[in-house]
């Protein structure tokens, strides 16, 4: 857990004084990622660097896991905080392995343990230890360097990580990949992370909480969905953008709005069976599945009225299916692309898992607004 209490930083220049952080208060619970978000120069980096005292605070308190950090000396404090910067800062004179082992060695680990840790971590980010441990940073691509930068910070297993625009210098495609990898890792490691970003999309994706900064002050500190659905003031609304509701689509997975009661029939079923299935679940759509429970087509209740023969004579092809794990942005995109009002969802094994309809999507997004109107 990281707690900031009235954290303030003023820079005194010959001509003026700049208040880079103004009575910042926030709590990041253990295992969560808090994104500090805001336009350039709003004080995100300053707030972050006060935590590992690269910038000494002017006033206020910082507590890590309940302990006031002012009792620790700078060196002790920094060795138990992972630090990742945009420029990565791998030491070019050291191999990847040596880079990763810097902090463990300073903490007095024996060499074997440190090296084993390096190999384990490099494996964790999907790089081959035999191939990469003995390379120099200049022999790696930008994305590989950034992965090493992240695992170097994780080497001594610090409870807290500070990340200052860690993926900012990576091209958009690789950035998405590294973000996903990092989230997967975080799901296991459960570090308490302060993450600086100036990109709302990244913040929404990475953050359990987002703190929006303006001129050293926190304008809003909330879960991403709250920030997008209920911006606290015009500044926040403007910063998150006019398409903020669309951005919320990313925060919800298809699973959460799937209608699991959609009737299904096998390919060998008769129209009579389909009619019964439709009637009992009060649904217009009946999905046809194969022997492995995979969706292969659909029929409508109207078509089945008075119909005769085999289901397969009536079945329409499904324009597309979406995995239940997909976020609603992907789902809606698929709907628009195929000009349809609903899509069949599949689970990890490709089995039918229900349908997502456009009304269900809009209802999910609208719910939060209705709730706040009633309040």
């Amino acid at each position: 857990m990281i707690q900031l209490e009235n954290l303030t930083k003023t820079f005194t220049l010959p001509s003026t004084t700049i208040v880079a952080a103004d009575k910042v208060n926030m709590t990041v619970p253990s295992g969560e990622i808090c994104v500090l978000l805001g336009p350039s120069g709003c004080g995100k980096t300053t707030a972050l660097k006060m935590i590992n005292r690269l910038i000494p605070p002017t006033s206020g308190r910082i507590l890590i896991n309940g302990e006031d950090t002012s009792g620790l000396n700078d060196i002790e404090l920094r060795r138990q905080i992972g630090y990742v910067i945009q420029q990565i800062g791998l030491f070019p004179n050291m191999t990847v392995e040596q880079n990763i082992c810097v902090v463990p060695k300073m903490l007095g680990w024996d060499i074997k343990r440190a090296k084993a840790r390096a190999a384990e971590l490099i494996d964790l980010v999907g790089l081959d230890p035999r191939q990469f441990l003995h390379r120099y940073p200049k022999e790696l691509s930008g994305g590989q360097q950034q992965r090493i930068g992240v695992i170097r910070a994780l080497a001594a297993d610090p409870p807290v990580m500070l990340m200052d625009e860690p993926f900012g210098a990576i091209d958009p495609i690789n950035r998405e990949i590294i973000q996903d990898e990092f989230l997967k890792m975080q799901a296991e490691l459960k570090k308490t992370i302060m993450f600086v970003s100036h990109d709302i999309d990244e913040a929404v994706k990475m953050g359990d909480k987002i703190a929006i900064f303006r001129a050293g002050k926190i304008e809003q500190f909330d879960a991403p969905d709250k920030i997008l659905a209920h911006p606290a003031n015009p500044f926040v609304a403007d910063f998150v953008g006019a398409d903020r509701t669309l951005k919320r689509l990313r925060l919800v997975t298809a699973e959460e709005v799937t209608d699991r009661n959609c009737p299904v029939v096998s390919r060998r079923a008769t129209p009579q069976e389909a009619r019964n299935a439709a009637r009992s679940s009060d649904s217009r759509i009946i999905v046809v599945i194969d022997a492995d429970h995979r969706p292969v087509g659909y029929v409508t209740a109207e078509e089945m009225e008075g119909a005769d023969g085999s289901i397969t004579d009536f079945a329409h092809a499904l324009p597309a299916t979406v995995p239940v794990r997909a976020d609603l942005r992907a789902v809606v995109s698929e709907m628009f692309a195929n000009d349809v009002m609903w899509l069949a969802c599949t689970d990890d094994k490709g089995r039918f898992a229900g349908i997502v309809t456009q009304p269900a999507v809009t209802a999910a997004l609208g719910e939060t607004y209705k709730r706040s109107e009633m309040n």
């Binding site: 700078d74 060196i75 060795r79 630090y83 420029q87 030491f91």
Partner: protein, 241 residues
């Protein structure tokens, strides 16, 4: 690329030396040079002591001085000091030797001191600029990871500046070796004695007896420095590897 170029340079050097050797042998100069053998041995020793002592002193003082000037606490004065040093490097080495004599008289001491001063400047300058050129984000990462200032200096700053520092030492030693024959002029001895006396007496044999070992020493020192730079600078920051 770089290595290839120096390879070609070395071949040319060897060829020239080989040609010189043939010429020296065929013209009967070899005998004349050999006549000076005792002097060659004695003066070479003196010469190498001068080079070694003044060079070592310059390295031992120059590198710490460069480090010291590059520390944040010295930021306000460092640039001024470097300006003075830069003016210092424009003074011809002969003048440095002469000035040294006016202060310290004649003999080993002024020769040593003059050579020391002449080789000090490139070492200090390269150490200083090499350390300043280490990217700030490396120092930030190192600090953020909890390295002490000392650890940052020895594990991050110096290794990353080492190539530039080595270049400074190489230049310094080239200047040193090239200037040492002048030490004779202020009573410092060395192979300059054979060269200058040879010129005075128009005795080509004696002149070559001084010039050839001087040239050989220069080639050898530069070769050794090149090898040291190639092998001692860490692979990740060595443009030669």
């Amino acid at each position: 690329m770089v290595r290839q170029a120096t390879g070609i340079g070395r071949n040319v050097q060897l060829l020239v030396m080989f040609g010189l050797g043939i010429w020296v042998c065929s013209s009967g100069l070899l005998g004349q040079i050999a006549d000076n053998w005792d002097d060659i041995v004695y003066l070479s020793k003196q010469h190498m002591v001068l080079v070694g002592a003044s060079g070592a002193a310059a390295i031992l003082l120059g590198i710490p001085a460069g480090i010291w000037l590059s520390r944040p606490a010295m930021e306000r004065y460092a640039e001024t000091v470097m300006q003075v040093f830069n003016i210092g490097t424009t003074i011809p080495t002969l003048a440095v030797i002469a000035l040294s004599m006016t202060i310290l008289g004649i003999g080993f001491a002024p020769a040593f001191f003059g050579l020391f001063v002449a080789s000090l400047l490139p070492i200090v300058r390269n150490t200083y600029t090499g350390l300043l050129a280490v990217p700030p984000h490396l120092k930030e990462a190192a600090t953020g990871m909890g390295m002490t200032p000392r650890q940052i200096l020895f594990r991050v700053e110096l290794p990353n500046a080492l190539y530039v520092i080595f270049s400074g030492v190489r230049t310094a030693l080239a200047i040193n070796v090239g200037t040492t024959p002048l030490a004779f002029l202020i009573g410092g001895g060395g192979l300059g004695e054979l060269i200058f006396t040879g010129i005075d007496l128009m005795d080509t044999g004696m002149l070559l007896a001084g010039a050839i070992p001087t040239a050989a020493l220069a080639v050898m020192v530069d070769f050794m420095m090149g090898q040291a730079q190639l092998r001692l600078v860490p692979k990740g920051v060595n443009p030669l590897r």
